[in-house]
């Protein structure tokens, strides 16, 4: 399973970003291979409109099964992520990516 986090910076210890479309970047954790990859959002977050759409395209491209953000998904992003079939988790703020992952796992 692949889990995508909106995060302020790279790595497990980075704080979660409470924005989704305008997050600093995205951390993808692949549970099968135990790999952690970073996808910077610097270019997209500058756009005036449609940043949630861009981020949702990344969800599709990376084939994430779960998407976790510190705040909320916007209406456009959530309508698209829904189409990809990924599970959406909101409000994982004031914690690190690692803590968000553990919190998600403990609730499963």
């Amino acid at each position: 399973m692949k889990v995508l986090f909106s995060a302020k910076s790279e790595g497990w210890n980075a704080p979660m970003d409470d924005r989704f479309g305008r997050a600093e970047g995205f951390t993808l954790y692949n549970e099968e291979t135990d790999e952690l990859t970073w996808h910077s959002n610097q270019e997209n977050k500058q756009a005036e409109h449609g940043v949630g759409i861009q981020a949702a395209q990344l969800v599709a491209m990376l084939q994430a099964n779960v998407v976790i953000t510190g705040g909320n998904f916007g209406p456009k992003a959530s309508s698209l992520i829904q189409k990809t079939g990924a599970e959406m988790i909101e409000d994982m703020n004031n914690m690190s990516v690692k803590q968000a992952y553990e919190s998600y796992k403990s609730k499963q």
Binding site: I53, Q54, K76, L80, K83, T84
Partner: protein
């Protein structure tokens, strides 16, 4: 001759000036071959019509075109989502989703799609009305439908209607939307002259400066009319003097003006001081034309 009436701040008196000046000019020109057409381009909240009664000449629906995804024809090449400047298309690996509210109807995705899988389809924006008030005064307005996010395409099409129906023998007055963003620029960009309405307060001055900067960027000649003259301070006058922008009218702040306005009537017809100001504004415009 096309004159746009604009302002940075909302509620400063664009509509008040538009309807009073248009009607004043039409009365003044009576018996001559000069005619006036007023177009309300504040399509998100058109209200000039509240002050003007006349006969409906024409009414039409207004449409723009947005792409519609043809799943059968699409080969999922992703080109459309890459080209779109406005992020209005999402490529989800197995499907393409169009967000019409972000689309600027530029046709790039549709024209560049190798499979013709994004044909442009009509999408309703609102209604346009053309009203005749007298032989030498006509009025055009458009009203954007609730829920439609972009005013600019409707503003553009409304201007095209006015241009197509009224030749150069008409003085065209445009009541622009407030602010300094795309809708305002679309409304004023091809006008010969822009009259900025402001009020003599710190708020008025702050937004007047933004409007002046916008018009400078567009290379527009601007004149200023101060509404609610008598309140606030003289900072607006000082700013205009420094900038060399003529103040061609000062509409006094009167209780009677608010009463007349609240009944949807025209101030210059009932208040002599305001009639004098319309005359001053007319003179200000004509001396600008001569210069």
């Amino acid at each position: 001759m096309q004159i746009a009436i604009a302002s940075g701040k909302g509620g400063t008196g664009k509509t008040t000036l538009s309807v009073n000046l248009s009607t004043f000019l039409a009365e003044k020109f009576k018996g001559t071959d000069q005619k006036v057409v007023l177009t309300d381009l504040d399509v998100e909240e058109p209200n000039s019509g509240l002050f003007l009664d006349g006969n409906l000449v024409h009414k039409e629906e207004q449409f723009r075109r947005v792409p519609e995804w043809d799943e059968e024809a699409c080969t999922l090449c992703k080109r459309c989502a890459k080209i779109c400047e406005f992020n209005a298309l999402a490529f989800l690996g197995i499907s393409v989703v169009v967000f019409p509210e972000l689309c600027h109807s530029c046709y790039a995705c549709s024209d560049l799609c190798p499979e013709n899988a994004l044909p442009m389809k009509y999408s309703r924006m609102g209604d346009l009305k053309h009203i005749s008030l007298s032989e030498n005064l006509h009025f055009v307005e458009s009203r954007l439908d609730i829920g439609i996010e972009q005013a600019t395409p409707l503003i553009n099409q409304t201007k095209q209607y006015t241009k197509g129906h009224f030749d150069n023998s008409w003085i065209s007055i445009l009541d622009a939307p407030p602010g300094t963003s795309c809708p305002v620029m679309e409304a004023v960009k091809d006008s010969d002259l822009v009259i900025l309405v402001t009020e003599p307060t710190p708020f008025g001055l702050h937004d007047l400066k933004l409007a002046v900067e916008t018009m400078e960027e567009l290379n527009k000649k601007t004149l200023v009319v101060i509404n609610k003259h008598g309140i606030g301070n003289s900072d607006v006058e000082q700013y205009c003097a420094e900038k060399n922008i003529p103040v061609i009218g000062r509409i006094p702040h009167l209780r009677k003006a608010a009463e007349v306005y609240s009944k949807g009537e025209l101030m210059f017809q009932q208040i002599p001081e305001i009639r004098t100001e319309m005359e001053n504004i007319y003179n200000g415009i004509t001396s600008w034309i001569k210069a």
